[in-house]
Symmetry: C2
Subunit: 491 residues, 2 copies
């Protein structure tokens, strides 16, 4: 199976696309730009959701659900928001079909035209702030710490499975606060939740920082982000947390009576991660043999494959295998025992390798004799024969080790592909020939960022929170700068 | 708070609507027919989702996600499906807005008209069977046992929070099988899952049966359903499971090579329950004092309220309260300790009563002295003073008792409001003056069912699976019949 797809070196883009489809994660649908998330891919999303949802709840948030449709006029209320979002979107204009006069199929019923068109939400700030207006009167009603799990639609011309699709699944948090300080703190709390999730669950090291004005969310005062580096040297924005100031409160007239009895506008944040994370997960760890999934997000963490010739061997092996399975499951490890007789062990080996199952156990007749089990790990492809005694603890530790190894490997990759450059020639050379994160001085202007983008396709991915003060000269304009920012080509 | 809303006797419809809004479950949004599900209401949905999702997985199903948009032409492929669904729906015709020439807001960009309109899914059989066509070649690919949690849109003219909204949340299962027998068995398995869920989790007794052809799902060969009786004597369809025969396989040309090497059409089922269940939950158990929630679905199962005058009393009470809270939480019980000093105990008592929290604990200075705690149950409004020793077990048992009591009460209500009638006059009298389920003979024709509906607004809610064979005469036409069916006015 792994044979008929290209290596990363041959074509990274094709490798990615083929991997997503052949590993049964997702596929394109009959609707341009909309994907079908297949059960194996959706199981990864469910694991991500469960982990994030718990983190949101542990930090005081609750879930709710707001409408899919947003009246067109809502988008015009926040000036920069409409520029960023209302343009490429799905517009509902009618609410009825009728039988076609020629008897062939159905046509839009022109009598059922909406007075005001409805936009399929590309993001929900507007409909939510229209709602918060009714919920907030006094400081006692604040903060509102609300998240929703939802689908959104942004009409994309060039789509790629998980990375950029017209419809995608995400969570969007929308909070309302009495003070600026509290709202900024919330924005930063969520940035920490996102980076913890990326690092601990996805085994994905990320840079934390803010965006330059050019890359800021439409309607935000400040956009914080986590940025990761993919194996092809391109950056991927994995999550954003926006401090919205009072922009949406002003646009939707949301005021509250403060403790001091003054009428003030509410402060806002919004933040989101999406099914794009699955794309990031695939691109960070997988290899030319297929998917590599970190144990904490793998739908199947351990697969057990029996090696046998005759039916009665299978019976004996199954007895041992099911005991191991039970022991592992008691530790909360998800295990599949694949005893299908329609496929041979070799086929199964490559199937689960291709699908990125972290640990493969094999039990054959000789193992029965010797009280052993063959343990293969997906990340290093190493195999060893272990005594079956205490195998549950050994596997539990191995899964932790694999998770840790994937993180370290990704971190080492990022470090190896992060360059500090001081001249424009060097900058262009690295961006063009090496890729990766480029730390360079920047004069702080949008004009310079745009020119750099025009000439090299690289953009400022983030202004790192932990950047040291360091005097220098802008790599492009030569003007003075007091810290380096991170440039890269990006997904 | 409970004061300014009508009793059930005064106006059941207004009681329901006010209750939903004032108990912070949901409210209407700026988009006609679309509701906002508020955090307290959404928390109930999350509990429902978690329970159902586990039941689906325990019966071998997996989750996936299919596109929100469906090409218009797909609806024409299954003849009766288009009649039932493609008419009242949201139609996406354009994919871009542009700045209005007059500078005021945005308008639809007529240059961005879709070649083929997209329908916002009212249900997903068509897009899913278009996908299954790619997934199924051989009997080895079957069965497909897939569910999705999603939003759907059906353009409704008269909407009611949770019960009938243009957009609603649901799960829709779509399965594909090699044989008719297996597909029918699946339809029945799911009917059992639904009725188990209704009875065990919602404390809602339901009738299991099939629908008459008039009430069948558009495209189904047979529709199974669970039907519940609300406190106003109207029936509510709480879930449906459809045996679709080979209708969708034929419409989308989905064939498989059987074990016998013959090319055959695939057999299908689909099944769903929605946020409508929250409406059923509210209407079954709540009373004139507000919500009554069964413990198994209550977001807060136990609330603890301190009764105190001075700050130092609160400290001592808190110590005891937090210990009780911890003990209850260790048993998996969700507990809120409301020590806000901005509200008085009396206000809190009515607040949690109104919101249907199953058990309220109160601790005052006298309780500290006596080692007691006041326990109040929402279902019967009874209070008692208990020794605090072993309180965790007592509360755990009490929650089980409350769950059981709500079920028994609802069952007794249904039994008291189920009538067996044999004459047309009697039929009309019961439907008009009493409501409830009416067991009557029916001649089996659509014409009779339609005439009965015209004259009384009652429809056949279900043909019960466990109906006894019994010779009789149709209550309307006088023609012969061999079993009674269940009539009622319905939501």
């Amino acid at each position: 199976m792994a044979k008929d797809f290209p290596t990363r070196a041959e074509s990274y883009a094709q490798w990615y696309n083929d991997l997503v489809i052949k590993a049964d994660l997702a596929e394109n649908s009959a609707v341009r730009g909309s994907m079908v998330i297949k059960p194996y891919g959706y199981a990864i999303w469910e694991k991500m959701q469960a982990a994030l949802d718990k983190m949101f709840k542990d930090t005081g948030h609750v879930n709710a659900y707001f409408p899919l449709f947003i009246p067109k006029s809502f988008f015009s209320k926040e000036a920069s928001h409409v520029e960023g979002f209302a343009k490429e979107c799905a517009v509902v204009t009618h609410y009825r079909l009728k039988n076609s006069p020629d008897g062939k199929g159905v046509v839009v019923d022109e009598d059922a035209k909406l007075e005001e068109e409805l936009i399929v939400r590309p993001t929900s700030e507007t409909i939510i702030w229209d709602t918060y207006k009714r919920w907030v009167q006094s400081y006692r009603d604040l903060p509102l710490l609300i998240n929703q799990w939802a689908n959104v639609v942004r009409w994309e011309m060039r789509t790629r499975l998980f990375l950029r699709t017209s419809e995608f699944l995400w969570q969007e948090g929308h909070t309302a606060h009495a003070t600026k300080k509290e709202a900024v703190a919330e924005t930063e709390t969520i940035l920490d939740v996102y980076s913890d999730f990326a690092e601990k669950w996805m085994a994905l090291p990320v840079l934390k920082g803010t965006k330059s004005p050019n890359e800021r969310f439409a309607g935000a005062v400040e956009t914080y982000c986590i940025e990761a580096l993919m194996q092809d040297g391109k950056a991927l924005q994995a999550g954003t947390s926006h401090f919205l100031g009072q922009n949406f409160a002003k646009a939707f007239d949301v005021k509250f009576l403060s403790k001091e009895n003054k009428l003030e506008y509410v402060w806002a944040t919004s933040w989101g991660v999406s099914t794009r994370l699955i794309g990031a997960l695939i691109m960070s760890h997988s290899d030319d043999n297929g998917l590599v999934l970190p144990p904490m997000l793998a739908p199947i963490q351990v697969v057990i494959i029996p090696i046998y010739r005759k039916g009665e061997q299978l019976e004996e092996i199954s007895e041992v295998a099911l005991k191991v399975k039970k022991g592992l499951e008691a530790k909360g490890i998800s295990v599949k025992f694949d005893d299908r007789d329609t496929y041979k062990p070799g086929w199964k080996f490559s199937e689960y390798e291709f699908k990125g199952v972290p640990v493969r156990l094999a039990i054959g007749p000789r193992d029965l004799e010797n009280g052993t089990i063959e343990v293969a790990r997906r990340d290093t492809l190493e195999k060893e024969i272990l005594q079956i005694a205490d195998i549950e603890n050994k596997i539990e530790n191995l899964l932790i080790q694999i998770q840790d190894n994937l993180y370290k490997k990704a971190l080492a990759f990022r470090e190896d592909n992060t360059y500090s450059v001081d001249t424009w020639d060097e900058f262009k050379d690295v961006i063009e020939n090496k890729g990766g994160f480029v730390l360079a001085h920047w004069d702080g202007t949008s004009e310079t960022e745009e020119k750099i983008k025009e000439e090299t396709k690289a953009t400022i991915r983030t202004i790192p929170l932990n950047a040291k003060n360091e005097d220098g000269k802008c790599v492009y304009s030569g003007k003075s700068s007091n810290r380096r920012v991170v440039f890269a080509k990006a997904y």
